[in-house]
């Protein structure tokens, strides 16, 4: 009975939690973070149920308020959206767990508004993934984005400034999306994804629709920080409070990736080989350029968060490349990398959060073996995530690269293979720079301080993420065959 309402339940869970947040805050100092974690967990369970239902019974729709589409708003749960829903909620729940048990910073008065924003943002993310209505998507996009600006700006003055710049660019992106939507509406007279797809399938992509779609793509690229439009990302992620970054960096851009995949493959009939409108090729080239640029820029950074942010730019490049390749393996690689990268980045940013929390700072040139001795387990998790970022087997990162390379070969383009391999090396450079510092160096002064290897609630989230990287690597075939294969469109 609950099954058919699942798409809306996930979104409502977060919205209701956001409304309840003030009450929870009055109840107890720690209640907001518990409520946030609990609703994340509930949403995760509902997302898993959605995924289970789509895998077993196929895609299903939900008409909000029982208004039949295309008049009413429609929600859609298909393998693609259910998979993204699980990724978003899985990672955010783990981070929220960490936020409650390890990071006491946001407790007290401010925690009410902080966690209310978190809930609104996650609700927005879930909504973007769940909706089948183009305008509704815009609303959710802005809902999550506004909460995101608040979360990122909730730190020093510097953070506020970076968040402000993100806000300006993000709003431009959203407005571009809206403008493009206008063109699409003029052409089709509908905003329902299925409807638009049907109509455009009949009449083909005319000039108006093409202009509109280009505007939409630009808007979405801004949101996902695809190469020439990535400038907001490094500052925003670096200056923000540790917990906000850990929450937003792994999944924020992924939601935009979802929109891109959905629009490019399901809604707008864009042929990969159409040289008059070569969106796929442009996307792949932008992705490849992003891979190289992000990796190169990550190398000289001295601030670990900024380094990770640039690495995010590179990883978004991988995903864009996979989408742009327009081959089954490229598509699989992109979607798998969304999952893998979300876990890796959460793990890496949580480690930097641990560093900040324990007062060791995140300046790379100040890291010493003392760091590892204080946080042995967290550091080990960091190393595992780093290895996965570099893409060494059998970690998850290796396999997304495997599929992406297969996809590049499939598209007959050896150039992308070179790019992917080169970026692996660049990744190795900037991660081993840190590993070298934390593991090898002058150990004389602190050699006597005992190392305590223990699993505590403070590093449990990191350990979970690191282990799931190994598991996701070993069982990638299962993930690909049962979860990703059903969503791959016919090429």
């Amino acid at each position: 009975m609950i099954g058919e309402h699942l798409p809306i339940i996930v979104i409502l869970t977060y919205c209701i939690a956001a409304l309840l947040m003030p009450a929870a805050g009055l109840l107890h100092r720690k209640a907001p973070s518990i409520l946030a974690f609990a609703s994340g967990l509930a949403a995760l369970v509902f997302s898993f149920m959605t995924l289970w239902k789509t895998v077993r019974e196929g895609a299903f729709n939900y008409a909000v308020g029982a208004w039949p589409p295309p008049v009413g708003i429609e929600l859609l749960a298909d393998p693609l959206s259910a998979f993204f829903l699980v990724v978003i909620n899985l990672v955010s729940t783990i981070v929220l767990f960490h936020a409650h048990f390890s990071d006491g910073k946001e407790s007290g008065e401010r925690s009410i508004s902080y966690y209310a924003c978190v809930m609104l943002m996650l609700g927005g993310f879930s909504g973007i993934v769940g909706t089948a209505d183009l305008f509704n998507l815009f609303v959710f996009l802005e809902m999550s984005a506004l909460a995101g600006y608040a979360l990122l700006g909730n730190g020093s003055g510097r953070a506020a400034h970076s968040a402000f710049r993100y806000l300006i660019l993000g709003t431009i992106g959203a407005s571009f999306y809206l403008l493009g939507l206008g063109f699409i509406y003029v052409e089709t007279g509908s905003l329902n994804m299925g409807d638009v797809s049907l109509i455009l399938g009949d009449v083909g992509m005319q000039t108006t629709a093409r202009i509109g779609f280009v505007f939409i793509i630009i808007g979405i690229s801004l949101k996902m920080a695809l190469l020439p439009l990535h400038q907001w990302l490094p500052d925003a992620y670096t200056d923000a409070p540790a917990m906000s970054t850990a929450l937003i960096a792994p999944i924020g851009a992924k939601v935009a990736v979802y929109v891109l995949i959905r629009l490019m493959y399901d809604v707008f009939p864009v042929a990969p080989g159409d040289w008059a409108f070569p969106l796929h090729t442009i996307l792949a080239i932008a992705g490849a350029a992003g891979i190289i640029w992000g990796s190169v820029m990550a190398i000289p950074q001295t601030n670990m968060k900024r380094m990770l942010a640039y690495s995010s730019v590179a990883q978004i490049g991988y995903i864009a490349l996979g989408i742009g390749l327009a081959t089954p393996f490229g598509y699989i690689g992109a979607v798998l990398h969304v999952f893998n990268h979300a876990i890796m980045k959460a793990c890496l940013f949580l480690f930097s959060a641990r560093l900040e929390k324990t007062g060791q700072g995140i300046r790379i040139d100040k890291l010493t073996p003392a760091t590892r001795r204080r946080l042995p387990v967290s550091t080990a998790c960091f190393v595992l995530a780093a290895i996965s970022m570099i893409g060494l087997p059998p970690t998850a990162g290796f396999f997304s690269k495997w599929y992406l390379i297969l996809g590049s070969l499939e598209s007959g383009n050896g150039f992308y293979v070179v790019v992917i391999l080169a970026s692996s090396l660049l990744n190795a450079v900037y991660f081993f720079r840190i590993i070298e510092r934390i593991y090898f160096g002058n150990t004389d002064t602190d050699a006597l301080e005992p190392v305590r290897v223990r699993l505590t609630r403070r590093n449990l989230a990191l350990v979970t993420l690191a282990l799931s990287l190994l598991l996701a690597g070993l069982f990638n075939v299962w993930i690909v065959k049962s979860l990703i294969a059903p969503m791959v469109p016919a090429f």
């Binding site: 608040a150 003055g157 402000f164 300006i168 407005s175």
Partner: protein, 123 residues
């Protein structure tokens, strides 16, 4: 040429507004003016939707004896208006968040001038 401009003048105005807004966002040093630019930019997009809903000779989409429900073509399209109501709300919220951030910036640095801010940030 003149005809093109004439028949699409509303779109040209809309386009002009969009450029003005973008100009403000990109080239104004005062962050508050950037926010104003952003508002103009958003207004132009909202206007665009209103323009595409317009119909020559159409009337406001409120029940009208002259057309009743039998001739829906007599009304202008109400859907974009509804959408834009939402978009306006979103825009207001955006400005709200932007101003809140600006207040925090001002509190921390004592200025909202971009070039001065960069100097402060580089310290």
């Amino acid at each position: 040429m003149i005809e093109i401009i004439e028949s699409y003048y509303a779109y040209w105005v809309c386009f002009l507004l969009l450029t003005v807004g973008l100009y403000g966002i990109l080239f104004k040093q005062n962050l508050l003016k950037k926010v104003i630019g952003l508002t103009i930019f958003q207004a132009s997009v909202i206007l665009f939707f209103i323009i595409i809903a317009f119909k020559d000779g159409g009337t406001v989409p409120i029940y009208n004896e002259a057309f009743s429900t039998k001739e829906p073509l007599g009304y202008i399209n109400p859907l974009p208006h509804a959408l834009m109501l939402t978009a306006i709300v979103v825009g207001v919220a955006t400005v709200g968040v932007a101003l809140a951030l600006l207040m925090r910036i001002h509190k921390a640095f004592g200025t909202i001038d971009e070039s001065t801010l960069w100097k402060e940030l580089r310290k």
